[in-house]
């Protein structure tokens, strides 16, 4: 207890006055500066659509640039090869899709004409050739 009193006595020797000062008219102009910051923050919190899309636009521009950098040199050194090949592949895949649909249609038509639709054949065909999503979209279209 006596030791505590010594501490208190020791504190009395210490200065209570604070050694800090502020710039002139700091407190008088504080509200004004605070208002400006609140307004700035309010402006920042509602970004414009163009600002929100900026990263996406940069990414898209990057893809276009890469495409152009690859496409034109290829076209220059191998004229007609790359683009024709791409088109041919696309056409093949499209015709394959049509082929699948035609097959199914023909098969069903034949079976219909024979008046004997075998459910198992249809289910087998659908599960082998179409995804669940495609079956679902066919059913509801």
């Amino acid at each position: 207890m006596k030791k505590d009193d010594n501490h208190i006595e020791f504190l009395k020797e210490l200065p209570k006055q604070q050694p800090f000062k502020v710039p002139e008219a700091y407190f008088e102009t504080f509200e004004e500066r605070l208002q400006q910051r609140i307004q700035q923050q309010a402006g920042k919190s509602k970004p414009k659509i163009i600002q929100m899309l900026r990263p996406v636009l940069w990414l898209a521009a990057g893809f276009v640039l890469v495409f152009l950098l690859v496409h034109y040199p290829l076209k220059m050194f191998f004229p007609g090869s790359s683009s024709d090949l791409g088109l041919a592949e696309t056409e093949t895949s499209i015709s394959n899709e049509w082929l699948y649909d035609d097959n199914l249609y023909n098969m069903i038509s034949e079976d219909m004409s024979a008046d004997t639709i075998d459910n198992e054949v249809v289910v087998d065909f659908l599960s082998a050739e179409l995804s669940e999503y495609e079956i679902y979209s066919e059913m509801y279209n």
Binding site: H7, L11, P15, K16, P19, F20, K21, F27, E31, R37
Partner: protein, 195 residues
């Protein structure tokens, strides 16, 4: 006795004002005006509270603005269970400590190096004009652990009641008294070792 009565009367007036401010903040039509009153009433008190934590004026200014911005953004979240005074001091204390931690991260200092940052601020801040004993006292406070530093500043300089401090720092009165006791002891040792 008279002084005590005057203090009680002042406290009651302040509480009455705070109640008016809270009522004003609740309504959208009077919110701006009430917020203006709140800032005007508490800016200096909160500034000095923050300044003692962060030492540098620029940091104190930043933390004070952050405090009021946080208050403005979370007015709806204020629960009247605590006094507005306690709520404001709690936000201000958190903002000051957050700022110190951010600076510590930026300057790649270790976790315990807040003291080093504060000691640097005492020497480099343009708006520090303490004499020799004031500077040494601030240095002694700067090397205290965070909680003891806060408690010492609030008790010694602001003469805040332990009960109020307890609401702000979310610490029991007993623990606060112990922190203050340890802080005083360490400051005494520091100053004696410097002599």
């Amino acid at each position: 006795m008279l002084q005590k009565l005057i203090r009680i009367a002042i406290d009651n007036t302040n509480m009455h004002d705070d109640q008016q401010i809270i009522e004003g903040l609740k309504s959208e039509s009077s919110r701006n005006q009430a917020f203006g009153l709140l800032v005007s009433k508490y800016k200096e008190r909160l500034y000095w509270h923050i300044r003692k934590i962060v030492i540098s004026h620029d940091d104190a200014d930043d933390a004070l603005q952050n405090t009021f911005i946080k208050v403005w953004n979370s007015i709806d979240g204020f629960r009247e269970e605590s006094e507005i005074y306690t709520w404001l001091y709690r936000i201000a204390t958190n903002e000051a400590i957050t700022l110190l931690n951010q600076q510590k991260k930026r300057s790649m200092l270790d976790a315990g190096d807040t003291s080093e940052h504060l000691l640097q601020a005492i020497h480099s801040d343009t708006y520090f004009d303490g004499d020799e004993i004031q500077t040494r006292l601030q240095q002694a406070i700067a090397v205290l652990p965070e909680k003891q530093r806060l408690v010492f500043n609030m008790k010694y300089f602001d003469e805040m009641k332990y009960q109020d401090m307890s609401g702000i720092l979310d610490t029991s009165v007993g623990a606060l008294k112990a922190s203050y006791h340890h802080a005083v002891k360490k400051i005494e040792e520091y100053l004696k070792s410097e002599e």
